[in-house]
Symmetry: C2
Subunit: 408 residues, 2 copies
């Protein structure tokens, strides 16, 4: 049995006036998504546990069958996984932002910009490298990432101080939001010493001359140990791959035991290499039982509030990914294929919300399909009365119990 | 890091007068095997624990890193795995031969032919199907295999009676070799009832008319539970595949968590599809960390005592498998490649022997190679003074500790 997960990130939406009271999924022409819903089993899945932030990290854990309420240990360790940084059982990964602090070194110091003026990866790499030279030891190491987003690993850390995400305190005085609790002094010291390295750093001098914001501080947050999850591959005794342009997805995928399969021209945007992703999935199925294909584009269009773009992204997903895979998967024998959104990114909200998302599963075995005849969209999914909540239960049903779920 | 195992079954040999006192490996032109030995690390590996039969089952367990002395539970469960039959923790798989008993139903009944005159798979399938109809229940099931070799599964068996391999008692009276101990009565009953089914079976009537030996009995032996081995894939957190024409290898491979990769035209003989196997290995490396490629041909030539054929099989292995893989593996990044024989099948003995076999490992990392400059053959392997015994330790070194082993 082959298992294929095709995830259109943030595809789900609310009915919007921009589209005459319809959702992008209702407006888009999606014959293949519809075929899966009509002939298969449609429903809703509740990926965001109550009280948790509807981030891609939480949603992806759910979709892969891990309860975020139990397994989410912070953004740091997931990003570490995505960067191929191995964490020992007592190592703690911190997100390390390059930020701009206003009124720095005064009592009024505030979080002016949590992106340090969207500093480039190249500039940041120089800075993080110098910070690492100044601070790295057996205990601490800094790793450059993308743009303003980097990592600090505290090896064999005894403490997990409380920290605050910098994007939550834009414009606020930082004094109240500095790390607190056991170990906070160490983290604060790192931030202070790093600020020294940044003070007259050539990159900052150049940025100042160019009228750009200086990266005059680092901000450590999102810390956690490696989640203790049992790899999917082990849980279900299968081999599998993850196809995504997004580091976070690659990281969670590799924690789940999936092999990260790189596709040239996968951008994470609407100009991505759809055909290449579908081709890679079909090639992988020759060697693997399980393939997870993630498409970021609909989410990006949602963040932009771009109705036309979101419809287009969904139609590309349908035509260039879902269609080719659906038309060719039969060659590998029996299969189950699931299409879903991980969370809505409504055009009118421009960010993630916690509502359930539609999913549809089509099995090559007739008796594993409800075949209720409803197209793939939010309204129809709700009509079915099927709501999988908490959403992390979906994956186990999908792989192990789909027949009994459908007939139950 | 990619890991590739290229196994030439039974390649190793004794010096033979047929070849002027040399071995086939010494006579064959093998530039690629030699390159691996010269630039890499050559040695001997002792795959057959003392007191165990040098069968392919035992040798393959060793090569894959499992101690046969602890993990070998019989031929039945390994063949069940190769046939895709799932065994629960208390299920016992028996090899079920179709045999010809001479002087049947007399006190002098003896094992005339443990292959029932090399009965064909098609004839056997009819017979096993009828035996299964007569005897199958929740407790017992019969599965047709190849030629005279079939399987019986006893679900939730409380007993493991002692049995005797039929090929060990050719010409001997069977009375002394019938199953013994707790549960023996059940197994004997199955054999008796099956003999009834066979008595006037149309296949036997036709065989008798054609002057062929009748399959007038089944013989149950080689029983065991599924070996409790930790899949390689789990032990080393990698994904891997098995390329072989031989069911037993496929079975052990899948117990080890490897995905069985089928190659069209793979025959298990000297006419096999060498190029197809090499191509499959290279394709698989795109998706997998570990590939095990097994070539049966040299062993078959050894069994035939065919010196020219064995040299040819080794040269094909070198030219069409080792060469193409060695020349293309660099594209996947760092790698370790091992070439080896699982056991000698000497031309003068025509069957397996327990002596150690040569192996050679080449790593893409210079510091992981001894580079002693010796060609790949038995004599040179012995000269190195490297003998890995027990042989199941080789795989762990190969995957986890090659650098320290080489420098140690």
């Amino acid at each position: 049995m082959k298992y294929v997960v095709l995830l259109g990130d943030g595809m789900a939406d609310y009915p919007t006036e921009k589209l005459g009271g319809k959702t992008p999924l209702q407006c888009a022409f999606t014959p293949y998504l519809d075929q899966i819903a009509v002939e298969g089993t449609l429903g809703l899945v509740d990926t965001i546990p109550q009280g948790m932030n509807p981030g891609s990290d939480v949603a992806t854990l759910s979709v892969l069958g891990y309860n975020p309420a139990e397994n989410y240990t912070g953004r740091g360790p997931l990003e570490a996984a995505s960067m191929g940084i191995n964490l020992g059982p007592n190592d703690v990964a911190y997100r390390c932002n390059l930020v701009t602090i206003g009124q720095k070194d005064t009592v009024d110091a505030f979080m002016e910009d949590f992106t340090a003026g969207h500093i480039s990866s190249q500039e940041a790499k120089e800075i993080i490298s110098d910070i690492n030279n100044a601070l790295s030891s057996d205990k601490y190491q800094f790793y450059p990432g993308v743009g303003y987003r980097h990592l600090m690993i505290w090896r064999n850390a005894s403490f997990l101080p409380h920290t605050t995400p910098p994007h939550d305190i834009t414009g606020k005085k930082i004094a109240e939001y500095l790390p607190q609790g056991d170990g906070a002094a160490d983290v604060n010291d790192l931030m202070k010493i790093a600020a020294g390295v940044l003070f007259n750093h050539p990159v900052n001098i150049a940025r100042e001359r160019a009228g750009e914001k200086k990266a005059n501080s680092i901000w450590l947050w999102g810390q956690g140990k490696r989640p203790q999850i049992v790899p999917l591959t082990q849980k279900y005794e299968l081999q599998g791959g993850m196809i995504s342009a997004v580091d976070l997805l690659k990281g969670i995928g590799s924690l789940a035991g999936l092999k990260v399969l790189s596709v040239e021209g996968a951008t994470g945007y609407i100009d991505t290499n759809y055909e290449g992703k579908a081709k890679m999935a079909l090639e992988a199925l020759k060697f693997m039982d399980f393939v997870f294909l993630h498409l970021e584009a609909p989410d990006e269009m949602g963040h932009e509030g771009n109705a036309e773009g979101k419809i287009k992204a969904i139609e590309f997903f349908d035509e260039k990914i879902v269609g080719p895979i659906l038309n060719n998967i039969g060659a590998f024998g029996d299969y189950r294929i699931i299409v879903l959104s991980d969370h809505p990114t409504p055009l009118d909200v421009k960010t993630h919300v916690s509502d359930p998302s539609p999913f549809a599963v089509l099995s090559s075995l007739k008796e594993e399909n409800r075949a209720a005849g409803l197209d793939f969209n939010e309204e129809n999914a709700k009509k079915t009365g099927i709501l999988i909540s908490p959403g992390h239960l979906l994956m186990e049903k999908f792989i192990q119990d789909w027949k009994s779920f459908v007939s139950g």
